[in-house]
Symmetry: C2
């Protein structure tokens, strides 16, 4: 019998037990998305802490690759500990906020200031990387887009998830982007995120779409499915695509990211996307939909435990 990893490219194959054991044996690196994969909100996916520990005990390297830009990495370290994950360090965590800062520092060797739309995660990662950020000001009641101050040193606009998003932030960003030399970055393209109780909240991709329309420009997207987050890991660790597995819950970001980077891909059903959606992409026959079809599907990463012991 051929091994699972040799047979299932883009196969959307439900996998567990011995086949999953063989797949994990064939990989040295496991990249996990966070939201919907290892936790949902403040609750760890059942068994996830044990899975991460067991993978490491089996000599695997584990990385966390998240489009969530709300927290700085130090806050992720605390969340991992709070939710029962042992010994997760900053160096294992690649968030879109951290990678955006790394892109500015290492790829474009940025100088000038960044006008950042985003949560504290974005601002703190930029500052930690030595990138100057425009301080947010409380515009008075008589300040509007016609008369507000614009910082002449701004050379980049970065858009991430921001619950304080406002018309003035959008309008200021729009004015900065009139200078074609001003970089336009987005932490990630996620259109929305699920909340408890069935509600959803707009994602960075939604805010970016507003600015793309207003500025007639396209953002450079740092987060998944862009390849940059993998390059960011690979620049710090010796990482071969063929020995790496990407595990995620969103076909349009996690799975496309894995395929873009030449990784094996696995959908886990504890988050946003469903097995049926993956099947629809597979059965559509449209070539451009092939990038949305995972190699493998598991109900939960908890299935790894049994497989590792098999």
């Amino acid at each position: 019998m051929a091994s699972a990893s040799a047979t299932a490219s883009g196969g959307c194959q439900k996998i567990r037990g011995t086949q999953l054991h063989e797949l994990l044996e064939s990989k040295h690196n496991v990249l996990f998305d966070c939201d919907g994969v290892i936790w949902n909100g403040e609750t760890a996916v059942a068994g996830a802490p044990e899975v991460v520990r067991a993978l490491k005990q089996h000599g695997k390297r584990v990385f966390f690759v998240t489009n969530n830009c709300t927290r700085p990495r130090q806050s992720y370290v605390q969340k991992f500990a709070r939710l029962g994950f042992a010994d997760i360090g900053e160096q294992e965590i690649f968030s879109s906020a951290y990678c955006s800062a790394a892109y500015l520092r290492d790829v474009v060797t940025f100088s000038g200031k960044v006008f950042a739309i985003g949560c504290p995660g974005v601002h703190e990662e930029l500052r930690d990387a030595g990138i100057a950020v425009v301080e947010e000001e409380d515009d008075g009641p008589d300040v509007n887009i016609s008369n507000c101050a614009l910082d002449p040193d701004v050379r980049a606009v970065l858009v991430g998830y921001d619950e304080q998003f406002s018309f003035m932030k959008l309008a200021k960003a729009c004015c900065y982007l009139r200078d074609s030399e001003c970089l336009f970055l987005a932490t990630d393209p996620d259109p929305w995120h699920p909340l408890r109780g069935g509600r959803i909240t707009p994602g960075s991709g939604s805010l970016t779409a507003a600015l793309e329309t207003a500025s007639s420009r396209k953002a450079t997207v740092i987060g998944k499915p862009s390849r940059f987050m993998f390059e960011c890991i690979a620049s710090q660790f010796d990482l071969e695509p063929e020995s790496s597995l990407m595990v995620g819950d969103r076909l349009e970001t996690d799975i496309v990211f894995g395929i873009n980077c030449g990784l094996s891909t696995m959908l886990t059903l504890t988050g946003v996307s469903t097995f049926e959606q993956a099947q629809v992409y597979k059965d559509s026959g449209e070539p451009e939909k092939k990038d949305f079809v995972p190699d493998y599907v598991v109900e939960s990463i908890a299935d790894f435990l049994e497989a590792l012991e098999a």
Copy 2:
């Protein structure tokens, strides 16, 4: 010599004097966009009040067709008077706010409440049309998208230009649109607007793009280039497309609108689009760009004065 109107379909023809005289002779109705055509901000385009008066004296019917949704029509009447235009009445003014209200009242015979993102113009026109609108509440500091109140009677979301646009408004609209029965309307698709001093401000189209991305839905657009604003005029006046001329300053809205409705089209160069941009569309040879090419181009509608006297 053939008349101007017979020779210049999609021809991007610069026109004045006798040819413009012949064109105006052949039309009974003149539809003007406002911003960039008859005024810029609080300044009338030089000669525009005289042009409107002269057209009426020559027996033409004049309509104002604007995507600007910030004001109710009564406020437009006051602005026309303030800027020296004589005797302009509400019935001649078709704004995207008024037409959105008319669409809800007359086309979909709406019942329920509208969650409206927009300036007073939108709210007042909805109320004048007898449409119930969700009252804006000042959410307290502990209110967020997870716990905020949502009105169970909302059956439509309408997005227009809104300088008070916020993450909470976007997130609430997004939640309402999860109900596939909830209508999703946009006053207009304008991506941005010029301000004095070289700045720009995001338009309704920018805010709509955010909500389209977050909701995974497409808005029904009421304003230009949608046909509805012409249908709205035609339902109140006996208006034939072939005897009507659309004059605007934006190729992507005004000119496309005119072509969508079967009108003759004229670009005036006192606003956003340039003659060079129109030429680029014309010379591109791409079939889908033909709808961006006006039949005629004038430097300013002030050129009408000489032509009417010719």
